[in-house]
Symmetry: C2
Subunit: 309 residues, 2 copies
């Protein structure tokens, strides 16, 4: 899957993913109105609005990009109907040829991580049958519990040729509280980076390992250091746009050939129509605004990479 | 809710919770056979087996204990049918008067943590309506992202009078890899403990705060230190029994009045019938074996607390 991601990035010249984090506040009124008219102001109604919103955005941008990153919390909050739409979104994106990074940030003790890994990336066995359940291509994983919480995901990745992105340095303002604590002369995130490197070395695709890392766009200097620590790991970079990251800041997350990183934007794309820059599209044409925002993001990042190399 | 937990512990003399982590391998054959006969070897069949198993165990032990801790991974792995049974289990336990600790280990950047908090502990708004979705009483939270990943949970706890248990020192063998790293003279888990104390101080119930901690039974010396660091926090103690913790090791997780901690056992209770000690019950009477194991666990922990005080 990491090869497939690399190929798709080369083909689209777009090392980006669109974050499908559909908060109700982002969804245009006409979509919510139609969904509530059909299902009432219920969890089913909310889930239907999310689905119609997602589908329109995916239809508008799928040919420009290699991948999407649905944030499961935005679906899980609406319970069973929400999670049904999460699954429906994963399947629809696959049908459109997109790779799906499940932003699930799971991580637990060994046997429990094994259940998460089976459910999200692998297969579960029921009697004599096997099922791929949520069936994302990649998942994000929290490393706080150490190797035996991450290992079950890696085992499934090897079996299924899928991948994970381990949280190393997250994009949020307080990420430094624990992640930046210096131990043995280096901040914790570097030690997590070293582990990502170690876990990845024995689980290689052709060029990159199955074990990638999450490093926030909001911390470009740390990205530069981590790129060197984990030369064979793809870096998933959240925090572009709405959280403050810019293309020029991100060049050091990439290798010299412009690969090795994939930058996510969520709100900046899916709620682009709310920005002054794209307000000409109007709420009715929110999906066209998303497409324009994707095109601008590609130009920004591709331009920055060309200027740097 | 933390008051309710304290009262229930006083009433039952059982500072314990039963971990409802129903791996298919634990479920007796006759239950699986019946479920597969009705639904086939499908995700629905697996979920039905889990449900019948859970219900029988809850029926057998609910009068002895204050709380249960369903591990959501064991349900999530079976997709939508599995998560429907997670919800059904939460509701059933509530009906039986039990407090429910959702072992979800969620944690993300602020707006995303807010969605998890709303979905698991609080309410989500759809148009003019509000819904309590999964509606657990407590949830476990991963602190790797720092304060702004935890704060949204605390806000919901204050509103709903619910609680969280923050992962401080986990029970698994490799938990020390990052959690034990010494920074500024103290291991990381102590710094996380200090934050738990700080977060909790401004969010107090009558005696204990809404912000508790997870500290593994497998690390009793660290539990002793952490008890002192976080005097107002309830400690959820996993790792008893199957993972190696014993009652006598656990007294220092408690306050002198025998409160302030709640010890979880999962496999040791729900799959007790597989142990030599309880094999007299036989697979058919797995729920009676679970009840006997709960009684023994109460005796072990209550005895250790009496011996210590």
């Amino acid at each position: 899957m990491i090869q497939k991601l690399t190929e798709k990035i080369k083909k689209t010249h777009a090392p980006i993913c669109v974050g499908l984090d559909p908060m109700l506040g982002y969804i245009p009124e006409h979509i919510k109105r139609a969904a509530y008219a059909e299902y009432g102001e219920t969890l089913e109604g909310a889930a239907e609005a999310v689905w119609q919103y997602n589908r329109a955005i995916v239809d508008a941008v799928y040919d420009l990009i290699p991948s999407v990153k649905p944030q499961i919390a935005m679906y899980e909050q609406f319970g069973i109907p929400g999670l049904m739409v999460f699954k429906r979104t994963v399947d629809y994106c696959h049908k459109k040829g997109l790779l799906v990074i499940g932003d699930v940030k799971r991580g637990d003790i060994g046997s429990t991580s094994a259940a998460y890994a089976a459910g999200h990336l692998g297969r579960v066995t029921v009697g004599t049958k096997e099922y791929a359940v949520f069936d994302e291509d990649f998942a994000t994983v929290n490393p706080y519990l150490g190797t035996d919480g991450v290992k079950p995901f890696i085992d499934v990745c090897r079996q299924e040729k899928k991948g994970i992105f381990v949280l190393v340095k997250t994009s949020n303002p307080s990420s430094g509280e624990f992640q930046d604590r210096v131990t043995d002369g280096r901040p914790l995130y570097e030690w997590v980076g070293e582990k990502v490197k170690e876990w990845g070395e024995s689980h290689m695709g052709d060029t990159y390992s199955y074990v990638g890392a999450v490093v926030g766009a909001t911390y470009p200097q740390m990205g530069k250091v981590l790129r060197k620590i984990m030369p064979k790991s793809f870096i998933l970079v959240p925090g572009y746009g709405a959280q403050g990251g810019k293309g020029a800041d991100l060049v050091h997350f990439f290798d010299e050939d412009g690969l090795g990183a994939i930058v996510n934007s969520s709100r900046g794309i899916i709620a682009a129509y709310k920005q002054e820059k794209y307000e000409r599209f109007g709420e009715a044409h929110f999906a066209d605004a998303a497409r324009a925002a994707v095109e601008d993001m590609i130009t920004d990042i591709d331009g920055a990479l060309k200027a740097a190399n």
